[in-house]
Amino acid sequence: MIDRDLAARLVVAAHRRVRDHREELSRLDSVAGDGDHGVNMATALAEAARRAEQGDHSTPADVMRAAGSAFHETVGGAAGALFGSFFGALAGQLSRSEEPDARQLVAGLEKGLARVARVGKSEPGHKTMIDALAPAVRAARESLDRGDDLEFVMATAARAARRGARATAAMRPSAGRARFAPDHSLGTEDPGANTVALVLESWAEQLSSEVRV
């Protein structure tokens, strides 16, 4: 079960993780982009975590919706809009049940992926966050269908996201700023895909630590 407080802890965990990798994310973005991805993501997630911790939300959907708004209100940029839309779509799905479980979460991830692809008009292989998010969502669905629990589903998703992010190094970009200098980013992973991996990894770890406690 994902309650309001767990949702808040997930947002806080995502913020910590991304903040700790801020420099690395900006550096990845500087190779063929404009060097701000780490700053953008850390700024938005700091605000998302602040709102999550204030705790005046009554449902996990509210927490995720507030996180989405934090992205849309604080940073902008391509990834700001897309992550904001991702959290917004996730929240929409979670709001369909009082106490969402792994099933709702996976459905929410699917909604999030679909929203990102629609808003960003991008597909797998374009060297974007989609290349981490799509395999992660697919892996989560398969894990869920195999009957795995929330913790295991998320761990599976996180591993797939990380593999997906790594695989972007070999891609030539066809979306985002990087596409204008496709050769420059060969050999370098996509920053947005890395953020996806970091967020899902932080969620997997948070869930596993909760189980252990």
Binding site: R22, E23, S26, R27, D29, S30, V31, A32, G33, D34, G35, D36, G38, V39, N40, T43, S69, F71, H72, E73, T74, V75, G76, G77, A78, A79, G80, A81, L82, G84, S85, V119, G120, A175, G176, R177, A178, F180, A181, H184
Partner: protein, 340 residues
């Protein structure tokens, strides 16, 4: 060569907010701050089309300096190099609404487009009508001509800003303003060049390789890398090469009249700009193209990038009229109208 990381700021994270305060204070007869946005000190007359732009910061005087009579009604400045989010753009649209509809001009960059689209969706959800957006591009280096809509926005878009601003001020309808935006866009081309790079003021991250002093042609307005040219190319040759590429791409016949913009991306000296301008005029003359209007100076900067861009806009009577209409912006001035 290397880059400057020591900047004259207070807390870099507050730099954009403090910049807006300072800039507006220095130009209070033209602009003021409203809810974090730069708006005209004297709003446009009721019933006219409001013109809005949201963009990342770090490109000043773009676009904070282009808010005023005959230019933008509202500029929503985002973080450095990042488009503002949909919430802020929506507030900008609301602030610019004088009852005649609102035109959102968007320079084609993934973030700018996505955030603008989301903002317009929200405006529709709130029941606002008459909000249009036009996506603008001009940079010939960013995609081939057969995929022209995939090109990104560059310094040439100042022609669009100026002419749409004039049309809206004159009282043209939303539809007419949008049509002018598209017309000017389709007649404008730009190409940039730079040597070295800049550092992001907040992340401190240099864009690209800070030790690379090769001249690159076709950089993005955020320092995204371009193609390399040799180490020691003379200004005249660079200018000719770039102007030829622009004129070829625009299929400009001999006898065409163009506006010529030479944009300073940041730290070029006016000495270099003037020498490059001289080279560009010679290159145009060689093709029988006449530069009937010129702009030379910092329009869209990339912090203190040592680079520049050329843009040409194929003029006709309608565009020249719009170009010449008066306008007032803190970073805009109509001097040197005719280079003749």
């Amino acid at each position: 060569m290397s880059i400057r990381t020591r900047r004259f700021l207070n807390d870099p994270a507050r730099a954009v907010a403090e910049m807006l305060e300072g800039y507006v204070a220095a130009h209070a007869s033209i602009i003021s701050l409203q809810d974090g946005m730069v708006v005209r000190a004297a709003p446009k007359a009721e019933g006219k089309v409001g013109v809005v732009i949201g963009n990342g910061s770090g490109h000043e005087p773009a676009m904070i300096g282009w808010v005023g009579e005959g230019l933008f009604d509202v500029n929503v400045a985002g973080p450095i190099f990042s488009s503002p989010g949909p919430a802020a753009i929506l507030r900008g649209i609301e602030a610019a609404d004088r009852g005649g509809g609102v035109l959102l001009l968007v320079s084609s960059h993934a973030g700018d487009i996505i955030n603008a689209e989301l903002a317009i969706e929200e405006a529709e959800d709130e029941g606002m009508d008459g909000v249009e957006m036009v996506v603008l591009y001009d940079d010939v280096a960013s995609a081939s001509k057969d995929r022209i809509t995939e090109r990104r926005g560059g310094a040439g878009l100042f022609y669009v800003w100026k002419m749409v601003g004039a049309a809206a001020e004159r009282g043209d309808s939303l539809e007419a303003c949008a049509a002018i935006a598209r017309k000017v866009r389709d007649r404008t081309r730009s190409l940039s060049a730079a040597t070295g790079t800049v550092a992001h003021p907040v992340s401190g991250q240099p864009l690209g390789d800070p030790d690379d002093t090769t001249l690159s042609v076709g950089m993005g307005v955020h320092g995204e890398p371009g193609a390399r040219l040799g180490e020691d190319v003379a200004a005249d040759e660079i200018a000719r090469l770039m102007i030829d590429r622009l004129a070829d791409d625009a299929d400009l016949p001999s006898g065409s009249q163009v506006g010529l913009l030479l944009n300073n991306a940041g730290s070029l000296t006016l000495m270099e700009l003037s020498v490059l301008y001289r080279g560009a005029r010679a290159a145009l003359e060689r093709r029988g193209i006449e530069a009937v209007r010129s702009w030379m100076g910092p329009y869209a900067t990339t912090l203190d990038m040592a680079g520049f861009a050329f843009a040409i806009c194929h003029m006709d009577g309608e565009l020249l009229d719009l170009y010449d209409r008066p306008a007032t912006g803190a970073g805009f001035t109509m001097v040197g109208r005719s280079p003749r």
